[in-house]
Amino acid sequence: MAPKLPPHHPVEQSTSTAAGGQAAEHPAPPRGLMRWLLTTNHKEIGSLYLIFSLTMFFIGGIFALVVRAELFQPGLQLVNPEFFNQMTTMHGLIMVFGAIMPAFVGLANWMVPLQIGAPDMALPRLNNFSFWLLPVAFTLLLSTLLMPGGGPDFGWTFYAPLSTTYAPPSTTFFILSMHIAGISSILGAINIIATILNLRAPGMRLMDMPLFVWTWLITAFLLIAVMPVLAGVITMMLLDINFGTSFFNAAGGGDPVLFQHLFWFFGHPEVYIMILPAFGIVSAIIPTFSRKPLFGYASMVYATASIAVLSFLVWAHHMFTVGLPLVAELFFMYTTMLIAVPTGVKVFNWISTMFRGSISFEPPMLFSLAFVVQFTIGGFSGLMLAISPADFQYHDTYFVVAHFHYVLVPGALFAILAGVYYWLPKWTGHYPHLKLSQWHFWLSVIGVNLTFFPMHFSGLAGMPRRIPDYALQFADFNLASSLGAFLFGASQLLFVWLVVKCVRGGEKAPARAWEGAEDLEWSVPSPAPLHTFEHPPTFRPDTPH
């Protein structure tokens, strides 16, 4: 069967502001596989992103469980060290670039147009393209595991020269897949910026936008600023490996530390790329279930901008032990400590939002509250890590592993889950099953803390990260972490079941699915029809945020 072209209807587009009804006017989309391959609809692409992200989350999760199973007790039982290194590396790469980032892009695809009253993303075909690059990139990345010499085994930070001179032959494929994923991110970011700046409902000014839109706007600028740096650094690797250059090879006049500077100049803003949209989600949910406007909306926006600027000035705190000069060490210690201030402002504002509210504990709120507590714990260990002399002891130990997992798993991932629970009624028209969601929440909280909290102690006791086997004094901590990891992993299966159940049926949700919800997305029916806001809504900024 000849593939059909994607729906192309200039008439509706040119007149959509003037007249015309809803979905009835659109020609029927292609059916089956072609519908998903060719779709330009932001809701469908959003769903694709979310499904892709969930798939990658499970693949990356299985890799993590291989790691945790090997570390269950001292000794080498299940895998050899080569494969262990591939697992830690792939786990990191898949989770960062394949699970967390696409999940946020998926939520942005679904919710940004709905929250600003736009009919779709500004560049729908580009949107389709940036999604379909991802499965290509990650199929390529995963295929390296089957190549001779194995996949990437140099950590997700791929420090040279381990990732150049000493890397397995498959590294060139890894570089290509990172390039493709990077292009996808840049295109996605451009699209989000174009949408937010051009397609807001008449009457909605920038400072009327919900915080999720704001945080994504800032995140998108961060992405455009740093993804090219990543592209540059992996291209330099490519040249070193295949074309005889010596960017990172001291024997040829290069500098291995240059790699780290470039990588972390990308890497630190990348960390914020993975947390700022989470701030936005939580800033939507907490006011809804406290039935009270967000405290200090302006401060929240300003603090986000402040964090974004500072994120470019702290990169070398990942490199305190490479032998920086004292001045540089001090500079990066001071800037890193400063970043705690705007971050603290956010936490205080969330708590003030709850103060004197009328609080109820629906599943999205549960995940958001857990986010606030656990993200703050991650923030505390971040503050400790900022103290450079102490960092000499923490650096590259499980203390660091505990820190960034607290920010990314009970932090970013919990915010994503909170967002999914919050908007599921809008997507499917049904509430997620209450009892099951509560089970999912409690099992996740217990699992995640049992996994990552003991890692603080194993790190302080002296366990380096990325080792396949360890000395006997670390055994108890690792046992606990492994048990927690399996509990956490298993309880995510519950989540999949719950989502499937919610798509199929459940308690019907009205347009405004949550009593305290204020933003524009709650003005369209649940489930949201395929095409929304074909006539721009009139936005009345009567409720100051």
Partner: protein, 57 residues
């Protein structure tokens, strides 16, 4: 101009009054804020670098 600087400083600090914010968004031009913001970021870098250099002596 002084108002722009004050608002950008408020942004760096992370706290701003709703009224001032509203005023900025109604009267100010985005370009001015962005230019001052970048400038202030540079000032911050130089300031911290200066402190670090002095302390490292």
């Amino acid at each position: 101009m002084w108002n722009v600087v004050k608002s950008v400083l408020a942004a760096f600090f992370g706290v701003q009054k709703e009224d001032r914010r509203r005023e900025d968004f109604e009267q100010g031009r985005a370009g001015a804020f962005i230019a001052v913001g970048i400038l202030m970021a540079l000032v911050l870098v130089l300031l911290v670098a200066l402190v670090a250099t002095l302390v490292a002596r």
